[in-house]
């Protein structure tokens, strides 16, 4: 035990003597949370539209007014014909073109269907379908007004109306959804890289050679290596949660100790993985590439940006070995739903098993002797 304390003391000294370490611990989470939470959003605001009104009638102007008064749309230009308007799309100056047909008013007055052409820049598919849906809604609203106007006594009778209620995130606030995931990302990156760079740094500096000829036992060495980063990463999580609360006023419905408990187990998986990478590579460069390779895959598939449920079946299977996916799911459950342990006990047990396997692998792969 005394030996472990000596290793711990040395590791902490080295970590905090590194001039970049404190900025990494305190600035990185702030910047990541602020930037990612505000920019990694799928909400569509200020869709730039170009109007081509070929009808120039009372009705067409009313429709344009509906678009003008919506906060989702911003009319950037009005053009005389479709050809001119499509130039705006091509140049990337507009997202959508709305063409109102020449006989728009006439058709409405004659109780026939009036034609509107909706052209959307669909390079970003999911954004395009959202913009399309918003535009449809505006047009529906306009349509409803006409019906009320023309048949004042028949509306709202016998029509179905669905009242949407959004649980756990009533305002559909994207930040509320993103922040718990980004917190996970934060502790993962800090933990993975700190541990992934550590042993390999000793290899590169040659210091491992001197350590290996001492009677230090494997478990003592690994404990001494893991514990500082484990504590730093846990602190990082608390720090990040504080920012989430102060800056974004993210709801925290569940139990804080429960979250920390899960994080403690999760970090064992991550740190052991980092250590494994560290023992397998000979240079920090190798370790860096291997770490990034796994982290990028784990992050992209973790359900941080896109729901796991809409991924193909193989990807959902893959996520069974993706620790980030586990913790993001659990973290969202605790923070946003207020879930208690029994709601995610299966996930937790899987994570614990994972931690044991990774730790055993890491200790096993660290070899003091070369054959």
């Amino acid at each position: 035990m005394r030996t472990v304390i000596f290793i711990l003391q040395k590791e902490f000294r080295q970590v905090f003597r590194d001039k970049l370490m404190l900025p990494i611990i305190f600035i990185v989470p702030v910047v990541q949370l602020l930037i990612l939470s505000y920019t990694a959003t799928f909400e569509i605001k200020n869709t730039r539209i170009v109007i081509v009104d070929l009808d120039h009638s009372q009705r067409s102007r009313e429709l344009v007014f509906h678009f003008e008064s919506s906060s989702f749309f911003k009319i950037v230009s009005r053009q005389q014909n479709y050809q001119l308007a499509s130039e705006w799309l091509k140049n990337g100056d507009a997202d959508q073109v709305i063409v109102i047909g020449a006989d728009f008013e006439k058709a409405i007055e004659a109780n026939q269907s009036a034609k509107i052409l909706l052209v959307t820049d669909a390079i970003n598919g999911s954004a395009a379908s959202l913009m399309n849906a918003y535009a449809q809604q505006v047009i529906q609203g306009f349509n409803k007004n006409i019906l009320t106007e023309k048949m004042p006594f028949t509306t709202n009778k016998g029509t179905l109306s669905a009242e949407p209620l959004f649980w756990y995130n009533p305002k559909l606030n994207y930040v509320t959804y993103m922040v718990p995931g980004i917190l996970v990302l934060l502790v993962t990156i800090i933990g993975f890289f700190l541990s992934g760079m550590n042993i390999v740094k000793e290899k590169e500096m040659g210091t491992i050679e001197q350590i290996n000829v001492t009677p230090i036992k494997k478990w003592q060495f690994i404990t001494g290596k893991l514990l500082p980063f484990w504590l730093i990463a846990l602190f990082e999580l608390v720090f990040g949660l504080g920012i989430a609360k102060l800056v974004f006023d993210i709801p925290f419905l569940g139990s804080f100790p429960l979250l920390m408990g899960v994080a403690a187990v999760y970090l064992l998986v991550i740190l052991a993985m980092g250590l494994l990478v560290s023992t397998l590579s000979d240079t920090m460069q190798q370790s860096m590439f291997i770490s990034w390779f796994f982290l990028v895959i784990f992050i992209l598939m973790s359900g941080l940006f896109t729901p796991i449920e809409s991924m193909p079946a193989w990807a959902q299977w893959f996520n069974k070995i993706n620790p980030i996916a586990y913790f993001i799911t659990i973290n969202r459950m605790i923070m946003l739903k207020g879930s208690d342990f029994f709601d995610f006990s299966e996930l937790f047990y899987a994570l614990s098993g994972y931690a044991v396997v990774m730790l055993l692998l890491a200790v096993n792969r660290y070899k003091k002797v070369k054959a």
Partner: protein, 307 residues
């Protein structure tokens, strides 16, 4: 087993892919001796030391230190040896004192407990004890590394090229320290590429290409050098060397400091004839004399005659 032996190795071989790094090495080293392994880079010195200190497993053969097998009893080995790798291997971002404390700590010891062992060495660097190890000069780094290797009072000290890249003054001091440590009854194994350091050991082994070519006390090695050695100088040393090498009556010629040493083919060598010949082909201000061979000359001759 002979208790007088600190280290014994039997038929050790080590391969890296198809290259033989160590070739069937067997030797024994007396307790309390200062034993030197001399040889050029790539001779296998580091591989041998890493096998002895339990970091490397030999492909064939076995070795033991004070009766402990280097593979089976690696735990005991690591308690009784002090190892100083060729590359500086202390924590550069920790201070002198922190390094020493750390290495004392992981051996369950303290600095004060074995201070008498390192006192003479640590004295030199104590004024800088709050300086980071990475900021020390080469000579001071070696002293710190030696202190760290000694702080747990090892019985066998294994030093891999401790003086490589260290200035001449520090090298001299370093060898003085080793002599003092020897008097504390610590067996010391040291490797070096500098042949002049060989004469400072009790016994030396000349290594080349994974084999021990010769092993004896420095005096014996010089005695066994049954050649006459000559020294020659001229105004054009570069041409002189190639001219000498072209002559059939010269067995071996090599540069040594500001003169060229050569060993004639016959013991009865006529210096007059050589001088005339050299003058004829344009050499001026020639000086020639017979000199006493040193251990270096013996090694150079040995290595050349093996090729």
């Amino acid at each position: 087993m002979n208790t007088e032996m600190a280290i014994s190795a039997t038929a050790i071989s080590k391969f890296y892919q198809d290259k033989k790094a160590l070739d069937n090495l067997s030797f024994e080293i007396m307790k309390g001796s200062l034993f030197g392994f001399i040889g050029p880079d790539g001779a296998g010195k580091t591989s041998l030391f890493r096998i002895l200190n339990s970091l490397l497993i030999p492909d064939e053969g076995k070795a033991n230190i004070l009766g402990f097998d280097t593979v089976k009893d690696y735990r005991q080995i690591r308690r009784i040896i002090g190892y100083m790798p060729g590359k500086f291997s202390l924590y550069q971002d920790l201070t002198v004192e922190e390094n020493l404390k750390f290495f004392a700590g992981i051996f369950n010891s303290t600095i004060s407990k074995n201070y008498h062992l390192i006192e003479d060495i640590y004295n030199h660097i104590e004024p800088f004890k709050n300086r980071k190890a990475g900021q020390l000069s080469g000579g001071m780094k070696q002293k710190l590394a030696l202190s760290c290797a000694l702080i747990h009072k090892p019985e066998v000290l294994i030093l891999d090229e401790p003086t490589t890249g260290v200035d001449a003054v520090s090298r001299g001091e370093f060898w003085e320290m080793l002599q003092k440590l020897k008097s504390q009854n610590i067996t010391i194994l040291v490797s070096t590429p500098y042949m002049d350091e060989a004469s400072l050991c009790d016994e030396v082994a000349l290594m080349q290409e994974g084999k021990i070519m010769q092993r004896a006390t420095p005096e014996k090695i010089i005695e066994a050098f049954e050649q006459t050695l000559w020294s020659v100088q001229s105004d054009n040393m570069f041409k002189l060397l190639s001219h000498l090498n072209d002559l059939p009556e010269i067995k071996l010629a090599y540069r040594s400091g500001d003169h060229i040493c050569f060993i004639p083919e016959m013991l009865t060598f006529e210096e007059k004839k050589l001088l005339d010949h050299l003058e004829k082909i344009g050499h001026q201000s020639l000086h020639i004399r017979q000199i006493e061979p040193t251990i270096e000359d013996s090694f150079i001759f040995h290595m050349q005659s093996q090729n």
